[in-house]
């Protein structure tokens, strides 16, 4: 299904993208499965998977949250600069 992926901070560096339209497999039905798929598509993202959060349509969600076609999914690692 088609979704929009937004990448922030280190995720932007790891994937080389700020925003992409992505075709994700129909087997990816929730955020947990999305994280696994992201690690496969973008290996440089793997070290960040444990700490980053996903926001679906401008709301932070957990691994069990479902994903639908047309969702805007933001990949948000924490940053600490001050």
């Amino acid at each position: 299904m088609q979704v929009t992926l937004l990448f922030f901070a280190a995720a932007r560096d790891a994937t080389g993208h700020a925003k992409i339209a992505a075709e994700i497999p129909d087997t990816v039905t929730n955020v947990g499965e999305l994280l696994v798929w992201l690690g496969q598509e973008f290996p440089a993202l793997v070290p960040h998977l444990v700490s980053l959060r996903i926001a679906r349509n401008e709301e932070f969600v957990n691994a069990t949250a479902s994903i639908s076609a047309g969702d805007v999914l933001a990949v948000i690692p924490p940053v600490a600069g001050g």
């Binding site: 922030f8 901070a9 280190a10 070290p47 960040h48 444990v50 700490s51 959060r53 926001a55 401008e58 709301e59 932070f60 933001a74 948000i76 690692p77 924490p78 940053v79 600490a80 600069g81 001050g82």
Partner: protein, 340 residues
């Protein structure tokens, strides 16, 4: 209705101060409701009589005068607010005049600012603009926590400091600058790291808000855990290259930093400003937003960014907002003292 210099004798607790000459131009700002029940007083009753007539002409119909004025009140042994609090605010009526004009601030708000205590973790990129604006606004006490000395590479973004302060402790550099900006501000300096060993000692002194201007994850998580336990709000800001984030953790309710990011990054996976670089103006934007949140909390106005993460992309010049909720399994929230 007395003049500034008369307030040295004290004032009636809770009273709003306006000199008679200021009454007509400022009445609407400090007395928004014509239905309000107003009692006017002056030293003995002459000016309050004039003020009462003026207020009635302005449309206030529930006005009475305190018979015999402040001196009669005092002679009856009725409570008086000591002069220090009053004169500090009113002798600064010129300094704060532009914000006193805001009905959401006014003299009542200015007194809240004067009584407030705000702690800043870090007087670096984020802490610099935050501290300067909080000092300018008249926050009564600012606590500054920073173990570092000023370095040349700080100066492109840490606007509190300048070339003459290189190799000076950041808290001392900030003290000099803040005292020049607003000598009314009391300062508590902590030239040390905010860490598990110092956090409780520093936070137990009591703060109305904390500005999180730390530059590393361990400090941010320590701050979150100890502040949550004590119910102290944290105005969070964080930056990386061209991106910034702002949110507010209310402390005694709502989600905290661990609700948002339960798992710190693996060591070595997220670089610092020294390693990744940062646009100098970026912490200026984010730190100023943190100060805005702190002022709103102190004044009790507007809506804080609780449960909302504001993200900023300087390259696109775009702000976005994402909602987040409390994690029912959050260990920091569970450790909160029940304040209900």
């Amino acid at each position: 209705m007395r003049e500034d210099f008369e307030l040295q004798l004290g004032h009636i607790p809770g009273a709003i101060h306006l000199a008679l000459s200021e009454l007509e131009p400022r009445a609407r700002a400090v007395l928004p409701s014509e239905q309000a029940r107003i009692v006017v007083y002056c030293a003995r009753g002459v000016r309050s009589a004039k003020a009462a007539k003026l207020l009635q002409r302005l449309g206030y119909h529930q006005v009475s005068q305190l018979e015999g004025g402040f001196f009669r009140w005092k002679s009856l042994g009725l409570p008086i607010e000591p002069p220090a609090a009053a004169s500090q605010v009113t002798s600064n009526s010129e300094r704060y005049s532009r914000q006193l004009l805001l009905t959401e601030v006014g003299s009542t708000g200015q007194q809240k600012l004067a009584q407030a205590r705000v702690l800043l973790i870090g007087v670096g990129g984020l802490g610099s603009p935050a501290a300067l604006y909080l000092a300018g606004a008249g926050i009564g006490t600012l606590g500054l926590v920073d173990a570092d000395v000023v370095e040349l590479s700080n100066l492109h973004r840490q606007i509190m400091h300048d070339t003459s302060r290189i190799d000076t402790k950041k808290v001392d550099s900030a003290k000099a600058r803040i005292e020049a900006a607003n000598p009314n501000v009391e300062l508590e300096l902590y030239a040390e790291r905010f860490c598990p060993e110092s956090a409780d000692r520093i936070l137990e002194r009591g703060w109305d808000a904390v500005i999180d201007g730390a530059d590393n994850f361990p400090t941010r998580y320590t701050l979150n855990d100890v502040a949550s336990r004590r119910g102290i709000p944290v105005c969070h800001g964080s930056i990386d290259r061209f991106e910034g984030r702002v949110t507010t953790f209310l402390g005694n309710r709502g989600p905290c930093y661990r609700c948002l990011f339960p798992q710190p990054p693996l060591p070595g996976t997220v670089g610092s400003c020294a390693e990744r670089g940062v646009l100098g103006v970026l912490p200026g934007v984010i730190g100023t937003l943190q100060a805005t949140e702190a002022l709103k909390l102190v004044l009790g106005i507007g809506q804080p960014l609780s449960g909302r993460l504001l993200t900023y992309d300087a390259l696109e010049l775009r702000f976005a907002e994402m909602r987040y909720g409390s994690d029912p399994d959050c260990p920091s929230c569970q450790a909160r003292v029940d304040r209900s």
